[in-house]
Symmetry: D2
């Protein structure tokens, strides 16, 4: 399979470019008789929508989804579900100047090298706007996971540059424009963003994901371990530079007697494993963290070259996110949902289990 | 596809259990007319072989490979290559006591939950011994990458617990039992291992991988980005808890003006991206790091439960690695080779390029 | 992968139901820099469009295609191509009576058994109207095959019931509403159709496909032989009950000395193999034939049951094809194009060949 | 995936050449806790073994299988099952003369064209001996199908050249060296084979397959219809030139009022569909037929060319089958078993059904 399909049994194939007529996706393998309304999908799309706060891109899009197939009288039919979202606020003229210039930190250079041709408008296929179809498809997976399996997936901002957000309350709300689980820190975060906008710069971020109520037994060793598929899914999100599960990089410094989670008749004593052992879920909460690089589209000038390898400088104006990590939260949740959904179906195929 | 196949065009399917009769793998999709001798494969197998130093498991295996098919008069024929390695030093009696007990930190519990049955001898399929077929298959990929594309993949120990090994010389040799690029640190490392053996404990590690001479253009957005497939491959190695590419988790603290690698007519000014932009290789060196948890098979006693959920304690004796991170080095190199080989074929299919 | 994707490297995923809002497909893996205009696609769509002659269904659809992505300034970019065709002439009321009744010979019964839910309007997903996206996607493959490889694919009506059309002139035109290579037979064919319409009945058909200029070397033994993939592709077309390659079923009566195609320095002496040996193309013309059952949607009354297994009778009125074999011609051509395109990419990946 | 893997969820990857050291296969996705003994596999292998009667090749092989993994204490564990069969009676010297000559009707020419290299001994990978691993893997699928689903798959000789075997008794035994369901015809069949051996020629055959007790609901429209996957599977068997389901090519002459199988509360009135509608099983008996070409390895001399395109003649001696259609019977049964097993798992994944 080429690279625009995710999943093996619950598959999502996406298409679309930032300034083309539309994005669409086809979801195949969704079990029949799942109740789905457009609002189930729209809810998650609205969470990643740009233009909703000063913290994110000011591009104005309704991002409203049309269901083209696969849902009949409000229920999935087992046939492929096609979703369509039209682009409304494309502003190709913003990009005319970038036609022959490679923006540092972007995929302009690599798409040109790979394909010998590229749609330069807003990054074309490489634009992070592509993630909206992941969120739309993920919403269907989440509906299934939540309704039939009680699985909940919750992402939150864990760091914005050097500001670390600790999250001591697992039930804390992240219903704010920073997906921040600790609302007391919001003024501080807003201050950082304001400063970055002023300076024409951007900053990296860390996002944590907590997955509750996953049954034991999900994951397909040896290559398609649940953690490996999560790593694949999360690393495929634009700007992600690192993924860790459970103790993650901290495990380097741990001793075996500390890391291994001892077991008692009432459960595990700890969760350094992050809910996965040998590539298979243990039934504990799954925890993951991702590192997101700072956005490369900034006003500050940078050296670069043209398509003809002539030196030039660039200052990216237009409508951009000072911290792409923020809007990555619903995207990360969606990718996790797609992985879990896929593994539930894969496990079911081999093991005949009913979740 | 079930979980024991890796790759889409250069596929490796492995089978085998730690104390069963043999491991084998089938490699499909290898280009024809590549010269391969058994020693090309044996060389890498010997690098991960146990029993070669006090730093690793004392299990004695020759790990000698038999080529069953796909190579004719010394050259690949384009047909599937089957490799066979018999287990010689299986000691099932070591494991009799573990038949009904779940070792903490191991897959015993999860395999039982998933399949309702498990081969308990040495972890069965979940044993890290499974990685020997990855190394065997990876050796064929490496031969191709090195011979036809000049690509070199080099892993090295970057940290053992709190001991950080800095590697300032890219050409340094790692030809020692610690895969350590700085031989001055070997006595210190040996000391740590000796202490751990004495204490019946283990320690985590970090492994870095450097991939040189990768051409620009490898990677299949949006889901099968080169970094996503590397993350998948590396996270599928037993004991890996984290993966980072380029700046990795350090990118959280970086500003856009710092992270983005500016471009000049003679090349990039820096390599925070780690050689990949938008999921496609830039032509720069690709850099990755992985975190490995400490081995769970240690002598120190731990609480656990039996299959019937009765409390018990366990002290794992037998032949184990005090730091699984060491022997993970050739495994990580092999997995990277499989990813690159696969992406070269995928790129070639679509782009008609000849590497 | 679930069942709505065809191909491994040039993949086509389709979605849509007969009376839903739209059909769409996503084509992934198309090589970049191929010139494609909407008319390249529309031309083939128009060949399978209903309502164009008394010989076919009278449903009126423009079947006009919108390109949503993957083509930039007239050329493919290597990114996924999404195509959209809206349904305009849906007449759900025609189907209200069929909501709870299974039409014999249709998929009504089996979809209900499989999914426990079905869109009954015009057969929903099971409608042969689904093949329009195959034709749209196939048109892109054909453009590539024709432009870059000079491969031509030509289907024609070979039998309508007991009327056998012999085709002695390989260059004969099939540009008529019966895809008949021998225009002298058209009045006879029209007579049969008129009679069937009057009788409220339908008839089977045979379609032959001739593929010219296929290079030697396409096909991936042992399972994905070129003939096996052609059989898969052709048998996936609604109403197809049989597939043969080369001598086909006539080979049963042949002796080895007759069937094997002897070879001379200037080429093969015959082509009983139909252009494929050992699953790989020989460079000769590939010949295939398919058998299509008579349409099941006819006016003649039949016994059937309701969803509740109550006996009833049914007479299917509405807009139907008296011989579904006719419009199957462009569909068969499209499926063959998808197979060849896929195998060119697969061969290229492994063999580094440039077609 | 390259071409040596069959199936999507119950996957079989095979490797091996006719005169190499061994054949092996890896079966992945087999449900756990299925009881399997070596004799379950050996039984079917013995049915296709050469050298057992004058009607088939006189090559002497034990074809005895070694289980390398995936089965623990007599039960599958859910991990990959590797099977190994060593070649004992390889006689490479038989083939020395064929090193540079293309045998007409064989894959010699096409493998050379595709890969630029080939193992010429006994056809190498293209030898029909490759099918023994299909039979071994199929035996595991059959055990599951028979034990858990009561599904039975029965192939039989339906024609040998112009001799047509009618099979009026579905319970008739085919336990003879011709897989002939009508033992009265055996002398006649033996006569034909004796004559062919004398004449140094061969003959085509037809094999019918009857699949009983398939539940309704198997098959994944639109591309992976059950009939499409059966066509793929059966056409991938060496020498197969045609596949038909149900009425097959006879459907060309049928009217809709005749072909469509009317339904009553107690079941279908007929079975022209062959047990599949819209690509999904109806619950009726599935019927299929295949045409096999006459063997090309015959003593009668033929014109051909050398690798350097010099004209020459060839008379193939050695140990060959005068009618490859005979030993194709257990192979066809095995391929059908693999398709059904795969579709049961695929259906289970999406539909949560327990067969």
């Amino acid at each position: 399979m080429p690279g625009n399909t995710f999943g093996k049994l619950f598959t999502v194939t996406t298409a679309g470019e930032s300034h083309g007529p539309a994005y669409c996706c086809i979801i195949d393998g969704c079990p029949p008789r799942l109740e789905i309304s457009p609002s189930d999908i729209q809810r998650d799309l609205d969470r990643r929508k740009p233009g909703q706060s000063p913290a994110v891109s000011q591009r104005r899009e309704t991002d409203s989804v049309e269901i083209l197939s696969g849902i009949f009288e409000g229920f999935t039919t087992g046939t492929p579900i096609a979703l369509l979202i039209r682009n409304h606020n494309a502003r190709s003229k913003d990009y005319e100047a970038l036609k022959n210039v490679f923006r540092p930190g972007h995929a302009d250079y690599t798409y040109q090298k790979k394909y010998g041709i590229r749609d330069h408008n807003g990054g074309g296929r490489a634009s992070a706007r592509e993630t909206l179809m992941r969120v739309a498809a993920g919403a269907i997976a989440r509906k299934y996971l939540s309704t039939l399996c009680n699985i909940e997936i919750k992402g939150s901002l864990a760091a914005l540059g050097s500001i670390v957000i600790s999250n001591e309350d697992p039930d804390s709300s992240t219903d704010n424009d920073f997906f921040c689980p600790d609302p007391k820190r919001l003024p501080e975060l807003r201050g950082v963003i304001a400063e970055l906008r002023k300076a024409g710069d951007s900053i990296g971020a860390r996002v944590n994901i907590i997955i509750s109520n996953v049954p034991a037994g999900l994951g397909e060793p040896v290559f398609d371990r649940l953690n490996a598929d999560l790593a694949h899914a999360l690393m495929s999100i634009p700007a992600v530079k690192g993924v860790e599960i459970g103790a993650g990089f901290a495990a380097i410094m741990q001793k075996g007697s500390e890391h291994r989670d001892e077991i008692t008749p009432t459960g595990f004593k700890s969760n350094h494993a992050g809910g996965i052992l040998g590539g298979i879920s243990t039934g504990q909460t799954i925890t993951a963290g991702i590192a997101l690089k700072p956005a490369s589209s900034i006003r500050k000038s940078a050296d670069t070259v043209t398509k003809d390898n002539e030196p030039t400088t660039i200052s990216v104006t237009g409508r951009h996110d000072p911290c792409v990590g923020l809007r990555a939260v619903p995207v990360a949740e969606a990718m996790v949902a797609l992985v879990l959904m896929d593994h539930i179906l894969r496990d079911r195929a081999q093991n005949n289990r009913i979740f």
